[in-house]
């Protein structure tokens, strides 16, 4: 048992923290508020690509660093700490990782080096209107075609869809699920932007009898497994992002209350304030431990369904409580848009709800227990 980081892990973490903390500033983030510009800092993205940080979990044969999911999660934690305007979760976790795991070799060789070099941005479509189960698509249907498959239907709120060159899409094909890499420039693809709480770019993607060539099929049938695998990793990625964001919000509130004086003393000296922050500290420690556990199990390729549900329950509860408490102890300053904390509140709530809030994961865990699974060893 080892809760420490290896030398390589510490290096990845330090490099990510250095680049992100230097490059992401409240002034730069302000440029994206209210969708004034697409929330995508391409200069920062280029730096992360050049430093290899987007590719830590990618095999060296495709231009990656050849580490694993733990190292990538450490980068995501730093992205959360700075709420960096880059598509790390979508490109690296929801798209590159499942492609590397499941795509035919020829497809991997065609897209992964391009994704690693930054000439191809990837994302994944995980939701449909009224259907949050990414592994059981109903709104997008595929039909067999001599050259591949044809897709019709709508995927809703696909992150960075308009910026991406290709989207991982699951579609219902007869009784099964087909997963493809959809090129966004294909005939019949249209997009309409939707607005999200975080100002992160999203678009509804409408597919009108779009032909996806056979070479772009990741899995013709049984694609549920691909989607399940990628949703698990994306969920863990959200937990890691949440950890960084919550930790930053807590430390900001601790500093602010230590400086801010009322009744002639720092407000941090009031026990009611100190104790609220202590509760944040405990919540975040729980999120850290459950997230690292889920990430390290997924990294090792073993079943982590129970541990991942538990991590996401904490990401939801901790996100809610920390976002609320840190805003609260700041008083009006916390909601003032000239002070950076309010954006963290948006992200903490985003990560709380995305891919299922606490109740969803409690229900899933409860069902597993009812089936006699997930007990203590």
């Amino acid at each position: 048992m080892d809760f420490g980081f290896s030398e390589e892990q510490r290096e990845v973490q330090a490099l990510a923290r250095q680049i992100l903390s230097e490059q992401v500033t409240p002034e730069k983030l302000a440029a994206y508020d209210e969708y004034a510009a697409a929330r995508f800092d391409e200069e920062l993205w280029r730096q992360l690509l050049d430093a290899g940080l987007t590719n830590v979990a990618l095999d060296e044969s495709y231009g990656g660093m050849g580490f694993g999911f733990i190292e990538l999660a450490l980068v995501l934690e730093e992205a959360g700490r700075t709420i960096a305007p880059v598509p790390l979760v979508h490109h690296c976790v929801s798209a590159m990782m499942p492609l590397q795991q499941f795509a035919p070799e020829a497809l991997k060789e065609r897209v992964l080096p391009a994704a690693a070099a930054g000439s191809l941005l990837l994302t994944a479509a995980l939701s449909e209107t009224g259907n949050d189960n990414a592994a059981q698509p109903t709104a997008v249907v595929a039909a067999e075609h001599v050259e591949g498959v044809r897709l019709s239907g709508i995927k809703s709120a696909v992150p960075y869809a308009q910026e991406a060159g290709a989207i991982l899409v699951a579609a219902q094909l007869d009784e099964s699920v087909c997963v493809v890499l959809l090129e966004t420039g294909a005939a019949g693809v249209s997009m309409s932007p939707v607005e999200y709480t975080t100002f992160e770019p999203h678009a509804d993607v409408t597919l009108d009898n779009v032909l996806v060539p056979a070479a772009n099929i990741v899995m013709r049938e049984g694609g549920e497994a691909v989607m399940h695998w990628l949703v698990e990793r994306t969920t863990a990625a959200l937990c890691a992002h949440q950890l960084g964001a919550a930790d930053y919000a807590m430390r900001t509130a601790a500093s602010y209350t230590s400086e801010r004086e009322q009744f002639g003393v720092p407000v941090a000296t009031f026990q009611a304030v100190g104790h609220r922050m202590a509760d944040c500290y405990i919540d975040i420690e729980c999120l850290r431990l459950t997230t690292y556990q889920a990430v390290s199990l997924l990294g090792a390729g073993v079943d982590a369904s129970t541990e991942l549900d538990i991590a996401k329950i904490w990401a939801g509860d901790c996100g809610h409580r920390v976002s609320y408490a840190t805003q609260h102890v700041h008083g009006g300053t916390g909601i003032d848009r000239d002070y950076p904390l309010w954006r963290y509140c948006l992200w903490l709530r985003h990560n709380e709800m995305a891919l299922g809030g606490s109740s969803v994961h409690l229900a899933a865990l409860g069902q597993r227990l009812a089936a006699g699974e997930g007990l203590f060893a």
Partner: protein, 394 residues
């Protein structure tokens, strides 16, 4: 990073689980039940001595202290398993005071006390609180006055749990009444509970557990019984309390209880068909407990690892205490809801002791949010030591 036990640690766990399954005879179990899960009976003592003979008590202690030289993680596995087996292990002596004596004791203490602790032949109660010194522990008044080569001790302690069957009390005494800061005038002693000047009266608690008021009337001990430097006892007190706080959070028994309740809910039929566990609210309660106990487990694993790495952090020890103590109470409540009316019964309705166990745990767990230092003080420590926030003047 690898948050799982390695093969050797899993093998040790299995070995211990089998060892304790054999040790916990029905007679021993009955005696422990009778003693309200505190121990102190003859079979309990015999089992403790046997654990000592078999080299388990100090499995994670350094060899120089007489242990087996494994790490605190192995020590932790041992304590989890012994508690999981339902044996009321005297962890305050072995996990909390014992290591302090081994580290800071003089040659006499290291010779006379430490080996006996490891042999399961020495039990030590803790004398800190007084009628007028609870959370403000440093205002304690029990005095030790130098008289030639000896010390003469007078005073009263409160909540001296287990003292009625312990051999010595680890006693915090005022040795400098004029110290400008009151915590700088405290020295630690080991005082024999067999001394004619020592007496105790029982205090019965909500949980049914006995604790004690203890009285110290002109007890004379030689300087050999002093631990640590004169007037430097406070750091031994806080260091012991850090260890005590960790020892208070045993997830082993809770994880076993949780598994038992799941099994009960899966096999107990509802009057109108189906099983208890088919109800969504039951699944919700169980999932909440599963998530809380998992965190308890990870927190104590991490702390044991940090002890091995010698990076144990004060804020993290306090966080473990606050989270664990509050989560225990919540877990007992949620499990009790599932058991329903039988969680109100002190007898054994289902013949599996489950309702009775939860009735007692939910009742006795009231102690843990203030025992070992109130959670308010722990939260003060967390915000100050963990987040560098200034503290109010007291």
């Amino acid at each position: 990073m690898d948050i799982q036990f390695n093969a050797e640690q899993l093998a040790l766990r299995d070995e211990l689980r089998a060892y304790f399954a054999a040790m916990m005879t029905p007679e021993l179990r009955e005696e422990c039940e009778r003693d309200m899960g505190e121990g102190g009976g003859p079979l309990w003592r015999e089992a403790l001595r046997q654990m000592g003979k078999d080299g388990w008590i100090g499995v994670g202690w350094p060899e120089a202290w007489g242990g087996r030289g494994m790490s605190p993680l192995e020590q932790f596995i041992f304590v989890e398993e012994v508690m999981r087996a339902g044996y009321p292990f005297p962890f305050l002596t072995t996990e909390s005071v014992g290591p302090i004596l081994a580290e800071h004791g003089n040659e006499f203490i290291k010779r006379e006390f430490v080996p006996k602790i490891l042999a399961g032949e020495m039990l030590i109660s803790i004398g800190y609180s007084e009628p007028g010194a609870g959370t403000d522990l440093a205002s304690l008044k029990t005095s030790a006055v130098r008289d030639g080569d000896d010390w003469v001790i007078n005073g009263q302690k409160m909540w001296t749990s287990l003292a009625h069957f312990c051999d010595y009390t680890w006693l915090a005494c005022r040795t400098d009444p004029d110290a400008p800061k009151k915590h700088k005038g405290i020295t630690m002693f080991l005082v024999p509970n067999s001394d004619p000047g020592w007496s105790c009266t029982p205090v019965t608690t909500l949980g049914g557990v006995r604790t004690n008021a203890t009285f110290y009337d002109n007890i004379r001990v030689s300087d050999d019984y002093r631990v640590g430097e004169l007037n430097s006892g406070w750091k031994l007190v806080t260091s012991q309390l850090n260890r005590e706080r960790l020892s208070l959070i045993n997830f082993g028994p809770s994880s076993l209880l949780f598994n038992e309740v799941v099994k009960w809910a899966r096999t107990t039929a509802l009057p109108k068909g189906g099983y208890v566990i088919d109800q969504p609210w039951v699944q919700q309660n169980l999932a909440r407990c599963r998530a809380d106990i998992e965190c308890m487990k990870l927190i104590v694993y991490k702390q044991s690892w940090a002890m091995t790495e010698q990076t144990l952090d004060m804020a993290d020890a306090s966080a473990a205490k606050v989270f664990g103590s509050e989560a225990f109470i919540e877990v007992y409540r949620l499990l009790g809801e599932i058991l329903g009316q039988s969680a109100l019964r002190r007898d054994d309705e289902h013949g599996d002791a489950l309702g009775r166990k939860i009735e007692r745990l939910y009742r006795t767990s009231s102690i843990i949010t203030f025992g070992g230092g109130t959670n308010e003080i722990q939260r003060d420590i967390i915000s100050a030591a963990g987040l560098w926030m200034p503290r109010a003047a007291r």
